[in-house]
């Protein structure tokens, strides 16, 4: 994580320097605000493309990834998903919802000290497979679980 960027953002917000920098064309907002955010993967409209952007196309199925999610979610706007990876040395976990307009929902990188566990609430437009891809030692492992949604969470 780029510490400086944060400090710059904080300070600039206070002083209005940021606005001046934008005006002068010195900074392009996209780059400044989310240099780390994987735009390609998050912008992918199919799970296959998203996996490709993550370099995880050839993920092997694994029983060591435990996904705890409801079989039937009444409200697609809030679907609790709990993930635990028992693959040794898991470095990251990505969550994809195959049938969402943009399948990749989240990706968590675990550094030293963090347990490869996360619980997060996601939106689901319709019943879909929830796919979890874990990275460990340069290899990718995947697990899926189907969640049925009775009321979608992405409608107007």
């Amino acid at each position: 994580m780029n510490e400086n960027r944060r400090q710059i953002l904080t300070r600039a917000g206070e002083t209005g320097v940021l606005a001046a920098a934008f005006a002068a064309g010195l900074l392009r907002p996209g780059e400044l605000l989310a240099a780390d955010w994987n735009k390609d993967a998050f912008g992918s409209k199919s799970a296959a493309d998203a996996l490709k952007s993550l370099g995880a196309s050839s993920a092997a199925d694994s029983k060591d990834i435990v996904i705890d999610a409801p079989q039937i979610a009444e409200n697609g706007a809030v679907v609790p998903i709990e993930i635990m990876s028992n693959v040794p040395n898991t470095r990251s976990i990505a969550v994809l919802i195959d049938k969402n307009p943009f399948p990749l929902a989240a990706k968590f990188d675990f550094l030293e000290g963090a347990v490869p566990f996360v619980k997060v609430n996601v939106k689901m437009g319709e019943s879909s497979n929830v796919r979890v891809v874990a990275e460990a030692g340069g290899k990718h492992y995947a697990a899926t679980k189907e969640v049925k949604v009775t009321i979608g969470g992405c409608g107007g």
Partner: protein
């Protein structure tokens, strides 16, 4: 950022269970407002968890995460009184952070 954040960190053995709530609209850019126009995307993109100032987890999230996101994380090797800090950054440059001592 007026939206509140709430955090709680409890110790179980040598592992801290961190739960955090971030007040945020998490607009997907697909929803229509009362005026019939699409509400622009506005969502948290990055979440960072630090233990005593050291980053232990970095998350990148998309608009598919629910409104007012709630996360749980686990941090190993933590002691009572250690400081847990969680911060986020959204796609409009908004940011917020909160911290707590592990109980």
């Amino acid at each position: 950022m007026a939206d509140p954040m709430k955090i709680r960190a409890t110790l179980k053995g040598d592992t801290a269970d961190v739960r955090v709530l971030m007040g945020h609209p998490m607009e997907t850019g697909q929803r229509k407002g009362p005026d019939g126009k699409l509400v622009p995307k506005h969502f948290i993109q990055e979440v960072t968890v630090r233990l005593n100032g050291k980053t232990v987890m970095e998350g990148q999230i998309s608009q598919a995460v629910s409104r007012n996101p709630v996360f749980s994380f686990r941090v190993k090797g933590a002691k009572a009184g250690d400081k847990i800090e969680v911060s986020w950054l959204d796609n409009k440059g908004g940011t917020n952070k909160t911290e707590t001592a592990i109980a």
